[in-house]
Symmetry: C2
Subunit: 286 residues, 2 copies
């Protein structure tokens, strides 16, 4: 009944092994037969852009995405110009790293502001300004809806539907959406919005919603199967929408970060197969 997602589409997002530098993360993927990696700009910068690109290529890994651009909602014009410049650099870095996707966390309300509409217009304007570079570099900007609990301080794009509405304003070759289970699993309209996203889906990220939320709500994510997300239904909708790319496991969690990286990578692989693989549902953990 369920074709599932093969391990040949597994990508380890670097944030899942946050303590590792880029070379160690690449080596970890190779050791655990994980064919793709999602990179973070700070770790790329630390390794050096050209060296990072060479290391990933030498290891034979695909780069499923670069995290991340965004944070466009800055009240003063100088700040907005700086954000734009930084995002233009990120587009070029993505191209040099050989990935077609730059993930955008678009930004929350500017400090002291309450106007969501204004913040959303700042985002639209910034993306419009990035489109030419994205087209030139062959990199698609992936608008990520963040969970509404991050609306005030991190991203005013709070539902997949809103991300799709925004992406559709721009050419499909330049702007798409990120489907991240953690942020959108609760949405009663999710299946329809995934279908509407269609070929605009440029990244599929997975991790589980685990209770209780930790004191730092950014770090509440869990390994697949440890929480309450029905991954099978979401994965089926994403497949039906036409997405057949890499699937990134991205887990922000202090305990996961404290675990030995090899243990984390093994768990990521095992759970991916159990929860998303062929026949998933019959033998899920939990």
């Amino acid at each position: 009944m369920n074709g599932g997602i093969g391990l040949d589409r597994l990508s380890l997002n670097q944030a899942t092994v946050k303590r590792l530098g880029l070379r160690d993360a690449v080596a970890l993927c190779v050791r655990h037969d994980i064919p793709a990696i999602g990179l973070w700009r700070d770790r790329v910068a630390e390794a050096g852009l050209a060296d990072a690109a060479a290391a990933v290529r030498a290891a034979g890994l695909r780069v499923s995405s670069l995290c991340r651009g965004g944070f466009f909602t800055v009240a003063d014009p100088d700040g907005r110009r700086a954000a734009l410049a930084d995002n233009l650099a990120a587009v070029e870095e993505a191209a040099e790293l050989g990935t077609g996707t730059l993930v955008l966390v678009c930004g929350g309300l500017p400090p002291g502001q309450r106007d969501l509409g204004l913040a959303r217009r700042m985002i639209e304007d910034a993306i419009a300004a990035l489109v030419p570079a994205a087209l030139r570099c062959g990199v698609r900007l992936g608008i990520e809806a963040l969970h509404p609990m991050f609306c005030a301080d991190r991203c005013v794009i709070s539902s997949l539907g809103e991300a799709v509405d925004l992406a559709l304003l721009f050419p499909a070759d330049a702007v798409g959406v990120v489907v991240d289970t953690y942020h959108i699993w609760w949405d009663a309209r999710l299946a329809d919005e995934i279908a509407r996203a269609g070929r605009r889906i440029v990244s599929f990220q997975v991790c589980d919603w685990v209770l209780p939320l930790p004191a730092d709500t950014l770090l509440g994510r869990g390994h697949l199967g440890d929480g309450c997300i029905d991954f099978g239904a979401i994965a089926a909708a994403v497949a039906a929408a036409g997405y057949s790319g890499d699937v990134e496991v991205e887990i922000f969690n202090e305990q996961v970060w404290d675990a030995p990286a090899d243990q984390t990578a093994a768990t990521v692989r095992e759970r991916f197969a159990q929860v998303l693989g062929a026949g998933a549902g019959r033998r899920r953990p939990g």
Copy 2:
């Protein structure tokens, strides 16, 4: 430009002064010229239903709502029957207390379950079973969308649109929706959904979204003006939808609870006038 909401529509939800028993909360409202109160079932039970009703009547207060029914998403049929019986009792209590609104917090995923659709069907079935009692008692069931961060454990109805979809399945005299700013302020489609709710709005609750979220995310609410919600825009949409009833200030916050109740009531009144009153926007705090 802004007609605003007069203090004659202010209601103090009992949860804002959680440490007070019913009689003390009633006396507080009288002292602070607050004309309405939102009651909680535990405090009503503690005072005795008939005595509670008599105390509120004698004080000349309106009861804007009774909190709360719901928690319908129980895996075993006996548990579901018990929830239904409890909710039938709550409908009758609401009628005896003289309020036309019973607020419903519908329930999260049953423990160990991941099927949001199943949980939502349990809620629909339970509401259907309550409709005859609601009509007979002249009490409307107010479906409250809770913030998506509570989807797993408290309420799988996570957006106003979803609450409206559900309410529209039932007679308008029996089922409506609660608009609570804390839970839905982030929603890009909020204005449209409030318009669609129209006369189905049976309660309007207000409090602010304050960062950082506390360790217990249930308790992160703030006095109007202390956070980042744009109350004016939401209040205008609610007014345009046709709602002209009481407006409940409902704040779950450990520090607010620890403050002297008279200070809390004074702040509630002052902020209500500043943030929601005529001319609000020119002289908002913060």
